[in-house]
């Protein structure tokens, strides 16, 4: 089992509230329980090994918000429901209860994040932390303080192992 719940060291602090560490099995359970999960992938997901995992997660039936130019990795993938959106816009809309979502079926209740620049996603998540009730989980390889739950700082190898475990549990 990949232990990704340790090394929650922060190098600069955002304030008193920090993400709790989490594990692939817990993430899988939360996704299963969620009514409207959204899988938000950033451009760093286009790295070959990471993309394969991201596609596998998407194929479990979780709609994908592809930010940056990450949509390139999801076009024509069978069984994947992916749409492009700018992450700053997405963060804004997610804080608005009136937003109908990417598919006009209403707002989301769980956000899962992968493949983002750490400093960038931490900023976007600070809006969700302060101005929404959404639960957010970062399953990237860097601990992200402003998420609700986050993997710790892990090596690329451990990270891939953890994603495989998550996929197996979904």
């Amino acid at each position: 089992m990949a232990d990704v719940s340790k090394n929650l060291k922060v190098y600069t602090t955002y304030g008193p509230k920090s993400a709790r560490g989490t594990k692939p099995a817990i993430v899988a359970k939360m996704i299963e329980k969620a009514k409207r999960p959204l899988f938000v992938v950033g451009s760093e997901v286009l790295e070959e090994k990471l993309l394969a995992r991201a596609q596998a997660i998407a194929k479990k039936g979780i709609p994908v918000a592809a930010t940056g130019h990450s949509i390139k990795g999801f076009i024509d993938e069978e069984g994947v429901d992916a749409k492009y959106i700018n992450i700053h816009f997405l963060g804004t809309f997610l804080c608005d209860p009136k937003w109908a979502g990417l598919d006009d079926n209403g707002c989301y209740d769980l956000i899962i994040l992968l493949g983002h620049k750490k400093y960038y996603i931490n900023q976007v998540l600070s809006a969700l932390k302060n101005f929404s009730d959404l639960n957010t989980i970062n399953i990237g390889k860097h601990y992200t303080q402003n998420a609700t739950l986050s993997f710790g700082n892990v090596t690329p190898e451990v990270h891939l192992e953890a994603l495989d475990e998550l996929i197996d549990n979904l």
């Binding site: 602090t13 955002y14 304030g15 509230k17 451009s43 130019h69 816009f89 608005d96 600070s126 101005f131």
Partner: protein, 801 residues
């Protein structure tokens, strides 16, 4: 009796008596009458343009992404504001973040205006208050000043009033930061907009003063090219490095070097905007630049650590706080020349030149504060020659030897502390491993991406000087850093606006892309080249300034040309212009103001709201600050925003903690009035935002095209803009954008070559009614094409209102 005028006069019969009259009671009203038609907002105070700001903020909502969830402004605190809680004073997270953003904006505006005040004092002292302003072929010498203050400056002395207004307003804004003042986020936002507007006035004062006096190019499309890059510096010669933004003192150094035949005997080079302005000095008419540009802020520590400079002169803004500490280790004396940066150095302004040089070359002092520019002009070049000999004799080297380099890379234990500390999490550990195996490639890539902040070194538990390792490994690529940058030309001329204004408003020139700001890029400097080249090939006008202007010149195409050599520099489609340094950004907003004044014959004098409304609805311009890092960048951007110009930042821009983003799904927000009759018109969501970030340049490319769309586009213009939006989305994202149909008003807006394909899509995917015999859209679009419509957000401008 003749009427008193401002200026200077002598009293006859009295020797050596001269009376200066600065301003006269009632003069503003009198001048206003002389200026002709004057708008409603001459020198607006903090609440003067509040209604306009509220209109913008209603559509473009402030989005806060706090970087610190606490407030520690007063002794009630520290207060935890997480979750938009209120602190002890009653302010909530939104209000506090809006306040912080405003503070950032007025800090930036103060930096530019403080620079302007220093420069203006210096130039008036040297050239006199009556010295005429000369900025090129124009009847509107200072568009921002005229629009905001209602005055048309003609002399250096006339600029004092504009600057005094800016300074007074900045004090009023700063007062609002105090605890117990403003409490609502929306009014902090309006105040931030006010600060941004003031910034463009302050910048304009700074730049037109120096253009006029220092023989800089004046709206010259043939401004010369200057050398740029660390590889252009001949380290065999004595090297004098200047860093900062205020060229005032450096001109004395250049003059001394020319007068003493030193120009070819030593290297004078610069970092940041002082470098750009040095190359503008006395190049009016095409003369060869008298100095070289090393590069941006990202090169500061790299250049010092290279050990190449013999003496460093700093002035103000964007100068690292550790220049003296770093230079001291390498026996480089540092001369500070401006009271904004003094580094604890002794004030030698009144001392004898020989004594100063002796104390510095002997090492008795690390540096000196010299506020007397005549003295600076002589000390700096003479000391550089002396130090070059001394430093060569002593064999001062900074970067590690081959052996030391090998030891350092093998010392790394790959704990990743440096990577986690690095602002962009660069893969330093892998580069160390590759270097150990003899592959320097990964370090060479890091050299371009690294902004040389040095935080990795502070984090390393093994005390590896990481930056030195990167720089040692990258010597080959550093030697090849040789480019060309076009010298800043200042304003856009009236004839250029007269020719191009119609194309911009109708949309047949698809837009202005203004690439401004600093060098904190997410993925290296080449991104700028890719953006500019793509948009220039598509006939956008690309305007450059500051650090972006420098970095663009660092890359050549396959024919060995930089984009400055490849593309002409007139203000027309497909041209590439460098307006100049940081303060030259005012010429970018000025160009849009001049479109309203010259093409549309709008009165700009004291008429901010009407002009901003015109620009928002009709001038397709987008600012790009891809590497913005500074407070100044936030004030420049906010000044653009109040004037209706949207700005896109790179991902680091999220750390400004505030964006202005529209919601395309809120249909009632995307309406304007038709000024002909006051009727409401639906418009597409463009621009979609006033300030946002993009994750990658691939993502930004289609955003640029989309956000140049304006309600006033004619069918040809809309077709051109929509074609670029769709093509760029397909090229960089691999998809047809899902909102393209919102920008279609009738079939003539559709890209010509693919009209039938798109009509089918509109019918099948969006349920629009198409007449296939005539190939026309029968129903479907929400906005109508009416080329005579006059879109406005300001009710009073409507005839029937």
């Amino acid at each position: 009796m003749s009427e008193l005028k401002t200026g200077t006069f002598s009293v006859s019969d009295l020797e050596n008596v001269q009376i200066n009259i600065g301003s006269i009671v009632g003069a503003i009203e009198k001048t206003a009458a002389e200026e002709g038609e004057v708008g409603l907002t001459v020198k607006p105070n903090i609440s003067g343009l509040r209604d306009w700001d509220y209109k913008l903020l209603e559509r473009y909502n402030p989005v806060y992404t706090p970087m610190c969830d606490q407030c520690c402004y007063c002794t009630f605190g520290t207060c935890d504001l997480t979750g938009n809680k209120e602190g002890a004073c009653g302010i909530n997270m939104e209000g506090h973040n809006a306040r912080e953003f405003m503070l950032r904006v007025i800090t930036g505006a103060s930096a530019h205006s403080g620079h302007g005040r220093h420069l203006l004092h210096h130039l008036i002292d040297k050239y006199g208050a009556d010295y005429p302003l000369k900025v090129g072929q124009t009847n509107i010498i200072a568009p921002n000043v005229q629009m905001v203050t209602g005055k048309k400056p003609e002399t250096l002395g006339d600029l004092e009033g504009a600057l005094s207004y800016v300074e007074e307003q900045l004090v009023q804004l700063l007062a609002c930061v105090h605890v117990g003042q403003e409490g609502e986020a929306i009014d902090f936002e309006s105040k931030a907009m006010h600060g941004g507007m003031l910034d463009h006035v302050g910048m304009e004062v700074s730049d037109i003063a120096q253009i006029s006096c220092l023989e800089m190019p004046k709206a010259d499309e043939n401004a010369p090219l200057s050398e740029i890059g660390m590889g252009t510096i001949d380290s065999e010669k004595p090297v004098l490095l200047v860093i900062g933004h205020n060229v005032a003192g450096v001109t004395n150094i250049i003059d001394y070097m020319e007068d003493h035949d030193l120009t070819d005997k030593m290297e004078l080079c610069g970092l940041c905007c002082t470098a750009l302005d040095m190359t503008r000095y006395r190049t009016e008419g095409g003369d060869v630049p008298k100095a070289k540009v090393v590069g941006t802020l990202a090169k500061e520590l790299k250049m010092i650590r290279s050990g190449v400079p013999d003496v460093i002169v700093v002035d103000e803004q964007c100068v690292r706080a550790d220049v003296l500490r770093e230079a001291r280790k390498l026996m480089m004396p540092v001369i500070t020349t401006n009271d904004k940066i003094m580094y604890g150095l002794p004030d030698r302004s009144e001392d004898d030149i020989e004594d100063i040089i002796d104390d510095l070359k002997s090492g008795r002092d690390d540096g000196a504060l010299i506020l007397d520019f005549e003295k600076l002009g002589e000390v700096a070049p003479r000391l550089t020659q002396e130090m070059s000999k001394i430093r060569k004799e002593k064999g001062v080297v900074s970067l590690p030897t081959e052996e030391e380099f090998n030891e350092l890379t093998s010392r790394c234990v790959h704990c990743l502390a440096c990577e986690l500390e690095c602002p962009t999490n660069l893969p330093i550990s892998d580069a160390m491993t590759a270097a150990e195996e003899g592959d320097l490639g990964p370090f060479e890539i890091l050299h371009d991406k690294c902004v040389a902040c040095g935080r990795c070194e502070q984090a390393c538990p093994k005390d590896i000087p990481v930056l030195n390792v990167i720089e040692k490994a990258s010597q080959r690529v550093i030697r090849e850093e040789r480019g060309k940058v076009r010298v800043g030309r200042g304003q856009i001329s009236d004839p250029e606006i007269r020719e191009e204004g119609v194309n911009l408003v109708m949309g047949t020139t698809p837009g202005i892309i203004a690439m401004v700001g600093c060098s904190n890029y997410p993925d290296g400097t080449k991104d700028l080249y890719r953006i500019a080249d793509e948009m220039l090939r598509r006939n956008y006008i690309v305007l450059m300034s500051g650090c972006s202007a420098m970095d663009l010149g660092m890359y050549q195409n396959d024919d060995g040309e930089t984009l400055y050599e490849k593309y002409p520099a007139k203000f027309q489609k497909g041209n590439l212009i460098n307006v100049g340094s940081c303060v030259s950004n005012s010429h970018i907003t000025a160009a849009t103001i001049k479109v309203a004044a010259i093409f549309a014959q709008r009165n700009i004098t004291g008429n901010y709201e009407e002009i901003a409304d015109y620009i928002l609805n009709r001038v397709g311009a987008v600012g790009v600050a891809w590497g913005a890092y500074s407070q100044k960048a936030s004030s420049i951007g906010t000044g653009c925003n109040r004037l209706g110009i949207p700005v896109i930042l790179g991902p680091h821009g999220s750390k400004y903690r505030r964006a202005l983003i529209g919601k395309p799904y809120e249909e009632d927000k995307w309406k304007v009035l038709d000024a002909r009759n006051g009727e409401t018109m639906d418009i597409p969501p463009a621009p979609e935002f006033l300030l946002t970030t993009a994750e990658t340049i691939d993502e930004m490319m289609p955003m640029l095209a989309k956000n140049c769309i304006r309600p006033s586009d004619n069918n040809m213009g809309r077709m051109i803009k929509l074609t670029h939006y769709i093509e760029l989305s397909e090229k960089y994202l691999g998809i047809m954008p899902d909102d393209w149909y919102k920008y279609v008003r009738n079939e003539t807006d559709l890209p010509l070559a693919r009209r039938e394909e798109f009509l089918k899509k509109l019918e099948q995917e969006y349920g629009w009614d198409i007449d296939w015999n005539k190939k026309k859209i029968v129903s479907g679009p929400t906005s109508k094409l009416d080329v005579s419509a006059q879109p406005t957000n300001v009710e009073r401008l409507c005839k029937e209102a």
